[in-house]
């Protein structure tokens, strides 16, 4: 029914795009600058000064790139950075000590692999893959130029690892984007549901207003007949009863709607002049169109700021289309605050009520066009007032499941990645360097410990569980294993391939703390780095060269771990949002279902009411019923009270009010006169409580004679139901002891009348 801006439809995807790009570029810049800072101290063949100059230039490029990425200019900047990094890779023979290259400890290796990873977050899949291949190729070429053999460059040098890392990064990105699309679909669905519900509510309100206006007159007549104020000879009585019958039968006495009159009343300048006349249409359609035109013009007067509108009327085959356009400020339909949906709901509600359709198209600064169609075009509206809940999405039943499934997919991927890293790289390194260990068998203990934690994580993921209470002990255990493995190495094996825990320990932190806030993962990684630095100092390896190498490893490896953790955080945020959106949608659907049920019930009662009121009025008109007859008076009193109840309550009165009204009507059929009043709306009680409350009232009314008062009001987050009545002898209610559902009753008897008060206190949800 309402065209929505793309911003509303794809909010999450756009948010993820923006956020993902910013994270990726920032992370890449931080790693680039840190690595460049270490570069001159890692023994570059071209000398510290030349390498330093390159490093400074590269750091500057990083800042420039970051700035460009943030401002979004110039276009195509995403392609420039990988090219710069590829040049850096080719220059490795001059910039990095070949000994470090062979150990994958060169600073350029860190920058290249990080670029291949981060580029996946802001380039399309194919471009990202090509960039990764280009970077890996340049890196391998640089390794070969440094004198490494092809196999050495691919494995020990880490060229293959770059492609694996890029692929993992792409996988993460795809998971997050899919979760975002799911979230957007759910959000759009939720907005559509709420819009449809608002339109439906407006339609019902319009119908009620119509009933109320039509019956104001009949209710007034019967009220006074019921109160005995009409003798039967009044000169006005016949004419009034005639009018009452005419309105009840739907023969309106109002003059036919006139477009010229409505326009004149609106105080808006309308072009072209003179305005055309409505074509001949059924009365209810004309009334709805006229009301909708009035609302639309009122909206122009209030909000457009121009006081002028264009009105076009196109007669169609058996119908009409009316367009009202202004050149005013317009509004963003997505930003209209809740409860201020005046134009949207009132116009749409009126038209929907009469079988027509209203479309409002507006955008800030571009005016507003209201299109009224009667009858509604056959083509279903994109998000028209179809019954909410019928749009085919399972969201109401299982909120957020798609996002939760993706979250599980991410955990599974992470867990498998860690196992692959453990088996391929750690185990490989361990086998290749086993002879370095003073006691080779001991090295396996530490490996088995860490592998056990990774396998346990995999088991937890498959069981859809998290680490929970054993999280901190497990984290301490992992750090202990890493420390043990590090301490069992000879001092010259530190920060070398033999030091296999360095590359994987942080990853285990990502697994263990994946459902906690990011600071936990960061804390774990920092603890690990501090412990390893402590070991270096303890083992006398705190020399500048080793520290630089250690720095490069930390920047490269832990940067990757943090990037993965960040992706998980983004995915979790989206999952939470999706779940909330689905829950809100489900709540809206439930509300709407209740309202529809209540309204349907009211429609049935309206039909029954006509059946009771019309014979009464006809009898008064033709004189077969005398207003002075006590039985006629009683019938008139009952019918006027029924009318009043029917038209007074809103559909949001809920099921309790509806059941009470039905109960009161049953009592009235027995001849009891019931005055029912509902004050400020309260919470809707659960079905069990509702049954008990209605049961109390029913028992009282069954025992009552003469007249009774039933009152319902909200009090302190609960409900109070009161019945005051004269009861037949020996038929009093008994107080009901508290039954744990929060219901209390109080009974007062005074001067022959009994006052029952039933109080239900909603317990706090916690």
């Amino acid at each position: 029914m309402f065209r929505t801006s793309p911003a509303e439809e794809a909010a999450t995807t756009r948010f993820l795009d923006r956020r993902g790009r910013r994270y990726a570029v920032s992370a890449r810049a931080v790693v680039g600058i840190l690595a460049a800072g270490l570069a001159p101290f890692a023994g570059p063949p071209a000398g510290a000064w030349l390498c330093g100059a390159v490093a400074v230039a590269f750091a500057g490029w990083n800042l420039l790139h970051l700035h460009w990425a943030r401002t979004g200019r110039p276009a195509g900047v995403g392609r420039a950075d990988p090219a710069v990094v590829a040049l850096l890779a080719l220059a490795q023979p001059w910039l990095v000590d070949p000994g470090l290259v062979a150990l994958q400890l060169g600073w350029v290796a860190v920058v290249v692999s990080f670029t291949a990873i981060t580029v996946q977050w802001y380039r399309p899949p194919l471009a990202g893959a090509l960039t990764a291949v280009l970077l890996a190729g340049a890196y391998l070429a640089g390794c070969l130029l440094s004198g490494l053999g092809p196999g050495e460059a691919l494995l020990a040098g880490g060229g293959a690892w770059m492609l694996v890392g890029a692929a993992l990064s792409r996988l993460l990105r795809v998971l997050v984007v899919r979760a975002g699309q799911d979230a957007d679909a759910l959000l759009a669905d939720r907005f559509a549901t709420e819009r449809a519900a608002a339109t439906e509510a407006a339609r019902r309100a319009e119908q009620r207003r119509h009933w109320a206006a039509v019956h104001d007159t009949a209710a007034g007549t019967l009220l006074m007949v019921g109160l005995g104020e009409v003798g039967g000879r009044e000169p006005w009585l016949r004419g009034q009863v005639d009018r009452d019958i005419a309105t009840l039968e739907g023969r309106s006495a109002d003059p036919a709607p006139s477009l010229a009159r409505t326009v004149a009343r609106s105080r808006v300048r309308v072009r072209p002049e003179p305005v055309p006349a409505y074509p001949g249409l059924p009365g209810p359609a004309l009334a709805a169109l006229d009301g909708a035109v009035g609302e639309a013009l009122e909206n122009v007067r209030r909000h457009a700021g121009t006081g002028a509108a264009r009105l076009r009327l196109h007669p169609r085959d058996g119908g009409v289309r009316i367009e009202i356009t202004d050149d005013g400020g317009g509004f963003d339909p997505a930003s209209v605050p809740r409860g201020r949906t005046g134009l949207r709901t009132s116009v749409a509600g009126r038209m929907a009520g009469a079988g027509g359709r209203a479309t409002v198209v507006s955008a800030a600064g571009r005016g507003t066009t209201v299109t009224l169609d009667w009858p509604a075009p056959d083509r279903p509206a994109p998000d028209g007032p179809e019954r909410p809940g019928g749009s085919g999405r399972p969201g109401a039943a299982d909120p957020g499941v798609p996002a939760l499934r993706l979250l599980r997919g991410l955990r599974l991927a992470q867990s498998l990645v860690v196992l692959v890293v453990l088996v391929v790289f750690c185990l490989g390194n361990l086998l290749a360097t086993a002879e370095l260990y003073p006691a080779p068998w001991a090295a396996w203990i530490w490996f088995a410990g860490i592998a056990a934690v990774a396998l346990a994580d995999l088991a937890l993921v498959t069981a859809d569980r998290y680490w929970g209470a054993v999280r901190l002990p497990a984290a301490a255990f992992v750090l202990l294993m890493a420390l043990g493995a590090t301490l069992s190495l000879p001092a010259d094996g530190l920060v070398r391939p033999a030091h296999w825990t360095l590359g994987v320990t942080g990853f285990l932190g990502v697994l263990l703390f994946c459902d906690r806030r990011l600071r936990w993962t960061v804390g774990f990684i920092v603890t690990h780095v501090v412990l390893m630095a402590g070991v270096l100092v303890l083992r006398g390896r705190a020399d500048p060269a080793t520290l630089v190498e250690f720095g490069i490893v930390v920047v490269g490896v832990e940067g990757l771990h943090l990037a993965v953790a960040l992706g998980a955080v983004a995915l979790r945020t989206v999952a939470a949002e999706t779940t909330a959106a689905a829950a809100a949608r489900a709540a809206a659907v439930t509300r709407e279902e209740i309202a529809q049920r209540v309204h349907g019930d009211r429609e049935r009662r309206y039909a029954a009411l006509r059946a009771g009121v019309l014979p009464l009025l006809r009898g008064l008109r033709d004189g077969s019923l005398a207003p002075g007859d006590p039985d006629v008076r009683r019938r008139a009193a009952v019918e006027s009270a029924r009318m009043r109840r029917l038209f007074a309550a809103g559909d949001d009165g809920g099921e309790l009010a509806g059941e009470l009204e039905a109960l009161v009507e049953r009592a009235e059929r027995r001849g009891l006169v019931v005055r029912f009043a509902a004050a400020a709306p309260g919470p809707e009680p659960p079905a069990q409580v509702r049954r008990t409350l209605v049961g109390h009232v029913g028992a009282m009314l069954a025992a009552a004679t003469g007249t009774a008062r039933v009152a319902l009001h909200a009090d302190d987050g609960g409900l109070v139901l009161a019945v005051v009545a004269e009861l037949g002898a020996g038929r009093g209610p008994r107080p009901v002891p508290g039954d744990g559902s929060g219901i209390r009753t109080e009974i007062l008897e005074h001067e022959g009348r009994t006052w029952l008060e039933v109080r239900w206190q909603q317990r706090s949800p916690r």
């Binding site: 104020e229 007074a648 400020a680 008062r709 009001h713 005074h750």
Partner: protein
């Protein structure tokens, strides 16, 4: 003895006019209906302009309450008893805020209407059970602060429609029940937009000793 109370009825339904006129004639002391008619002008021109009290139907031929008519009457210093089919809290509170002496639902019969007209003629307020329920349920941020007892009295009055029952249940005298209700109305008259008849309501409540200046 004060002069007889006079009233003008603004209602477009002949049965309502007939009924209200009948109640007024039978009232003790009697109320003289000076004029009655379907449009608001009946209250400001001819004999109706001199009436002590205006009995006003809010829905004069329309489907939305015409608060402008009420505002005009109140600003002219008239004492208005609103007599309406509409029991929605927004409408009721809107009328109280504008300065109506009383708001009665059409379902509230002769006794309440006569009492309301008598009170309005003295410049005082009258609160029927429906209005009492709405005031007790008022959750708007700008509402006046009611004491626990005042709320209890209002709700009991709404529930039972009987001041005898309220008095018996809360162990008060019937007069004290009236005092609590009148104090609530004085607080409402003292809150929000100023209007001549609201000021008069407060003045009346002070004069009658129902409230102290410090309580407002």
């Amino acid at each position: 003895m004060a002069a007889a109370v006079t009233a003008v009825i603004v209602d477009d339904h002949p049965a309502i006019v007939e009924g209200v006129s009948g109640w007024c004639a039978a009232a003790d002391p009697p109320i003289t209906v000076l004029a009655a008619g379907p449009g608001p002008e009946i209250a400001s021109t001819g004999p109706g302009a001199a009436a002590d009290v205006v009995v006003l139907d809010l829905f004069l031929g329309g489907s939305v309450p015409d608060l402008a008519v009420l505002r005009g009457l109140v600003e002219a210093g008239r004492n208005v008893v609103v007599y309406s089919q509409d029991e929605t809290p927004e409408t009721v509170l809107g009328c109280v805020d504008l300065g109506a002496s009383s708001y009665l639902a059409k379902s509230e019969g002769a006794g309440h209407l006569v009492a309301a007209v008598h009170a309005a003629a003295r410049g005082a307020s009258y609160t029927g059970p429906v209005l009492g329920g709405v005031l007790a349920g008022d959750r708007r941020p700008e509402r006046p602060v009611l004491s626990v007892r005042e709320r209890q009295v209002l709700l009991a009055w709404f529930e039972s429609e009987s001041k005898t029952l309220v008095a018996h249940r809360l162990h008060l005298s019937a007069k004290t029940v009236d005092t609590y209700i009148a104090r609530v109305r004085a607080k409402y008259a003292d809150a929000g937009r100023p209007a001549p008849s609201k000021a008069a309501l407060v003045a009346r409540a002070l004069q009658d000793g129902l409230v102290e200046l410090g309580e407002l």
